[in-house]
Amino acid sequence: MRGGNAISVAASARPNRHESFLAYSRYRYLWFAALIVGVAVVLYILDRPYGTRYGGTWTGYTLGVVGALMILWLTWFGYRKRSYAEAQGRLVGRLSAHVYLGLALLVIVTLHTGFHVGWNVHTLAYALMCLAIASGMLGVFCYMRYPRLMTENRGGMTMQQMLGTIATLDEQLRVAAMPLDEATAMVVERAVETSAIGQSLWRQLTRRYPGCTTAAAIVHLDAIAETVPSALEEAWSQVRVLLDEKSSLLSRVRRDISYKAMIDFWLLLHVPLSFMLLTALLAHIVSVFFLW
């Protein structure tokens, strides 16, 4: 392939099996982060300033500068992730570094505070940083857990396939419920018209759909089970079977949606928290030197 900016990586650098971003390159960035944390802890212990340890001692200033630079670098990942122009390295490597250095940041900034907290902008920046890192940890957890659960849940089907099957079942339900009485037909029609999937984020995450028309239809059919005339028994059982199938498919779809929502939701916290952290960090640095 010609061109200086070929975005091709030598085949030998790509592993043949899936390599988790945590284990990337034999945990290279875990060791790097552990090294940084170790140096910071040793520095903190060895330095015994007059008065108390806090952000204004030599160690405090060093850790603060390092922490601030790390925060900027970590935030830069958000830009690089979305940029097509970047040709250096692989995104999974950058992600691995982002995760481990984000965890190291927690230790470094905690040492920088000297364990002093109060109701002020400095602790606000620290708290926002902790929340951002916590939301990041949530993200790591989600990506560790949910993809496998999604795969197991789908059982080889795609979302389109599941939804397509639901659409098919809807058609079949329409036909099968025709001989039944008005009330039942109306209930079945309502079950077919709308399917309770998606909707608000809360519903997506908790998979609770109190107004699910399919569940209501099942309840109705079970209620009339005793009173169905024998001529309609076959139709009843057909409708019942179809509704069961649809219900199980619906729950599979909802589960898939909830996993997807979890995988996206943590970023909804992580990104605004990061920007709030940047603002609070700026306020913290300005205030420290304004009232030096």
């Binding site: 007059y50 008065g51 108390t52 806090y54 002093h116 109060g118 109701w119 002020n120 902008v121 606000l124 059982g155 080889g156 089907m157 795609t158 979302m159 389109q160 396939q161 939804l163 397509g164 099957t165 639901i166 659409a167 098919t168 809807d170 058609e171 079949q172 399917s195 999937i197 998606g198 909707q199 608000s200 984020l201 997506q204 079977v241 199938e245 779809v253 949606i257 997807k260 929502a261 996206d264 939701f265 970023l267 909804l268 990104v271 605004p272 928290l273 920007f275 709030m276 940047l278 603002t279 609070a280 700026l282 306020a283 300005v286 205030s287 420290v288 030197f289 304004f290 009232l291 030096w292």
Partner: protein, 594 residues
């Protein structure tokens, strides 16, 4: 097995057929291209079902997650025969009469084409986390604006504008603006500074500038210096001049005092003081422990007065020369004294604590000694009771004695020939008294008689080397003898003294020190639970030369180092101060550094 497969496509009333023959052991159906019969619809599993003979009977078996529908009934595996209908997803497969040479014939028709139901369902699913009322961007902007306004712009505005425009609307002590101002506080202010906590500019006089000394001197201008201005201390003087208040005093550390107490601050100079400042009297200190033995300030010569600093713990032990004869041991006898009802004396009988509790008030004759050691005069009939010779006034003593005899002479009627009936003579005194006494007064000279009696009394009683004042005091003569030459001899006529001449001293000056370690601060009230005897060996002190101040080994029994855990934590500041007010102000307004 050979199977003929025909795909039917119905368009209106026209039916199109497409047939082919498959020869395979098993005929698999699915949307994947590897199947013998591909059913290209998303609703079909990749490998949905397989058709094969089982024990001679054609069987259909579901291979994918979705069940099949055989003649309307869901099933996963079942034998099939002619006329059966199988629904795999939206496809209907009918078994029809096989042509010759085939085992089976299948008619496959797509009976449920995808309508817009699928589109609708897909759109429901694709919402995802966009279903929240606000997205990441809006949340990030909102958060940024709130924080920037409240935590960045707000305090800056308040710093520059102050409260002036607001103070008319809001009472100044209502504290309403306090929370906004204190958002930038890195820690609470020390207690004494909280009354200006809302006015940062009190100390932070300029933005982006460190707090300088002039901020502190606005209120603490008279703070004392550390070393006398005139003393030559070499390079250390520059160091002291260049020091900033904030090097030792840190603010915003909460309620506790602002002073940094670490020994290291002091040891920066005091560990090598003898090398950096040659000729200094101050010994090097390396810490605590590491503090040299105490040096007590004693009276070398009360007459000078001359003082000296002597290190404790040496042999011979240091001696004090207060100029008084006193034995603690004799006073602290267990049996007590008749005058005090035979109750043993205690330290507090003579040593009264200062009001602040730091040390003790000076011991004086009038307050402490006079109770038992009154200077009563002879028990002669006098017009007034309880005659006493004044204490502390040498000439007054002589005058009192002279006045007594003068009074006696007056009482006895003024005749030259009369002599008092009793001639007092001290046992052991020379029988030939000074001439003017033994032979009686010269005719008609009462003045001479008074003078003679006075002189005798002064020489033999009052100012005798073994009694009278000598009970406690020393004289100004050689070896502490009394030198009476300034008042004696008393002639018949008073001699003329130069006007304004100072009376000569007969009793040697006495200096009873109250502070033996003037460079340190020992607070007795903090040690009130410790008995006097535990530190001061007074019961064994038989003379006033004994120095009762204990050495440092007495202190380290309870006091430990800077980070002691099993003893009282002690730093330099526990006993010493940096600022000595008695040396004058550290900086004048004009020389406030930088």
């Amino acid at each position: 097995m050979e199977v003929e497969v025909t795909f039917l496509t119905v368009r209106g009333s026209a039916v199109m057929r497409r047939s082919r023959r498959i020869d395979a052991r098993r005929v698999r159906f699915g949307r994947g291209t590897g199947n013998e019969v591909q059913l290209p619809d998303i609703r079909v599993d990749l490998t949905a079902a397989a058709l094969f003979p089982r024990s001679g009977v054609l069987t259909i078996e579901a291979l994918g997650p979705s069940p099949l529908r055989l003649n309307g009934r869901g099933t996963r595996s079942a034998p099939i025969g002619l006329g059966d209908e199988i629904l795999i997803g939206p496809y209907r497969i009918q078994l029809s009469e096989p042509p010759p040479g085939c085992d089976a014939a299948l008619l496959i028709e797509l009976v449920q084409p995808l309508g817009d139901a699928l589109q609708r369902l897909m759109s429901q699913v694709q919402g995802g986390v966009a279903a929240v009322p606000f997205g990441k961007r809006a949340a990030a902007w909102t958060g940024f604006l709130i924080i920037a306004l409240v935590f960045l712009a707000g305090p800056i505005i308040v710093y520059f504008v102050g409260f002036a425009p607001l103070s008319r609307a809001i009472p100044s002590d209502s504290g309403v603006m306090a929370p906004l101002v204190r958002l930038w506080e890195p820690g609470e202010l020390s207690n004494p500074h909280r009354f200006f906590a809302t006015n940062c500019a009190t100390c932070h006089r300029a933005a982006f500038a460190r707090v300088r000394d002039d901020s502190c001197f606005a209120c603490h201008g008279g703070i004392g210096r550390h070393v006398e201005a005139a003393t030559e201390i070499g390079g250390a003087r520059r160091t002291l001049e260049a020091m900033q208040c904030t090097q030792c005093h840190e603010e915003h550390r909460g309620n506790r005092a602002m002073i940094v107490r670490e020994n290291g601050l002091c040891l920066q100079c005091h560990a090598t003081l003898a090398q950096s400042t040659p000729g200094t009297e101050t010994s090097n200190v390396s810490g605590f422990p590491g503090h040299p033995e105490f040096r007590v300030t004693l009276v070398a010569d009360a007459a000078g007065p001359r003082f000296e600093r002597v290190q404790l713990g040496k042999t011979p032990p240091p001696t004090d020369h207060p100029g008084i004869k006193f034995s603690h041991a004799a006073h602290l006898v267990p049996g007590g004294f008749p005058a005090l009802g035979y109750k043993a004396m205690a330290c507090a009988d003579c040593h009264t604590p200062e009001p602040a509790g730091l040390g003790f008030l000076p011991v004086t004759y009038n307050k402490q000694c006079q109770r038992c050691h009154a200077l009563d005069f002879e028990r002669q009939d006098l017009p007034w009771p309880n005659a006493r010779v004044p204490h502390g006034d040498d000439v007054g003593v002589a005058a009192a004695v002279w006045n007594f005899y003068a009074g006696k002479a007056l009482q006895g009627a003024i005749t030259e020939s009369q002599l008092p009936a009793i001639t007092r003579r001290v046992p052991g005194a020379p029988t030939s008294a000074p001439a003017s006494v033994a032979d009686g007064p010269p005719a008609g000279n009462a003045q001479a008689w008074v003078a003679a009696k006075t002189e005798a009394a002064l020489r033999t009683i009052v100012f005798d080397d073994k009694r009278g004042c000598a009970y406690c005091h020393l004289g100004t003569g050689p070896e502490g003898a009394f030198d009476l030459s300034s008042i004696l001899p008393l002639g018949a006529t008073p001699r003329a003294h130069a006007p304004g001449a100072a009376p000569g001293r007969i009793i040697a000056p006495v200096i009873l020190r109250t502070r033996f370690l003037p460079h340190a601060r020992f607070d007795h009230s903090k040690h009130a639970a410790v008995g006097c005897d535990e530190c001061h060996a007074a019961r064994k002190a038989e003379t006033s030369a004994a120095v009762l101040i204990p050495g440092i080994e007495n202190c380290v029994a309870c006091h430990g180092s800077e980070r002691a855990g099993l003893r009282a934590e002690s730093t330099c500041l526990t006993c010493h101060r940096f600022h000595q007010p008695e040396l004058g102000p550290m900086r004048s307004a004009g020389t406030a550094a930088q």
